[in-house]
Symmetry: C2
Subunit: 148 residues, 2 copies
DNA sequence: AATACTCATGCAACTCTTTGCAAGAGCAAA
DNA sequence: TTTGCTCTTGCAAAGAGTTGCATGAGTATT
């Protein structure tokens, strides 16, 4: 929506870095593949178009893009996945049982962060929280007595 | 405190598994090394005593010990770290700037989890949350106007 | 005590990820 | 345009983490 290629370039260059063709392709790949992509999937995609691009370049640039906040990383289980940083930070609820991924708006966590800021004087600054648990479908019925 | 070797053994065997010497040594290593240890550090420690123990065994058992909830894993940055699961789940605030690690009791997050349960019907079930941000020392003074 | 069964381990090969280094490319100043 | 500087990349090697398979070890049953 609000981000164009020029935006990216400017945002990167403003910090003294460059938007190289490789970085462009990596960003494109993440965009096209949608959320939650692993480095390897991104690498395959990029390599499909430019076979010369090195694996190390992909890894290095994913780090880089996170640093300049164009991309956010999330740790889901043992894998690291990436996605384009939206205008609004958002979060995920992931069901341990069925694997469902539920989006969660930033409003839902802001209160919590504010509370920590107040109680601990610690300013939480996360644009991508991943919470595990049981989704409505997999959750045991709450009314009955709980078996162990 | 409340956990003895026998406790471990029983808890493992109750589920049909075994407390092998390797598992014992891995648990010991995590205990002695304190919180937030990487697999590699654990491996080195274990290997110092029993050189025959294989790296794969360490990784497999860390997974296993998490599964039986004797150990909890946390993802800090790009690394996975492990620690003994205390009687009470607890969480961490980690400063992006200075790397300080601040413990956070479970009470501090319970309200948040309850809120999500209510709003999303999603039952969050995490015994080890890791939140990044700025610690009191590194946090910019809040009274001044904020530079961009 | 012998047998059958399942859990665990070590080994080896493989994949994923990181790092050091030399070469390449863009920008800025002269 | 030439020079110098820093950012980037590819390459190669090393390190970290995973997986399949055959062997070894513990438990329970007969």
């Amino acid at each position: 929506m609000s981000h164009t290629t020029t935006d990216y370039a400017e945002r990167i260059r403003a910090q003294g870095y460059r938007l190289t063709p490789q970085r462009q392709m990596i960003l494109d790949a993440i965009c096209e593949l949608g959320g939650h992509v692993t480095p390897e999937v991104i690498y395959e995609r990029v390599r499909g178009r430019a076979p010369a691009v090195n694996r190390a370049t992909v890894y290095r640039n994913l780090d880089f893009l996170c640093e300049v906040r164009l991309v956010v990383a999330a740790h889901i289980g043992r894998h690291t996945v990436y996605e384009i940083a939206g205008a609004q930070p958002h979060h995920h609820l992931i069901c341990r049982q069925c694997g469902a991924v539920i989006q969660l708006g930033h409003e839902a966590v802001q209160g919590f962060f504010a509370q920590i800021a107040q109680q601990q004087a610690f300013q939480v600054d996360m644009d991508h929280l991943t919470l595990f648990g049981l989704c409505p479908g997999c959750r045991p019925a709450p009314s009955r007595s709980r078996a162990r």
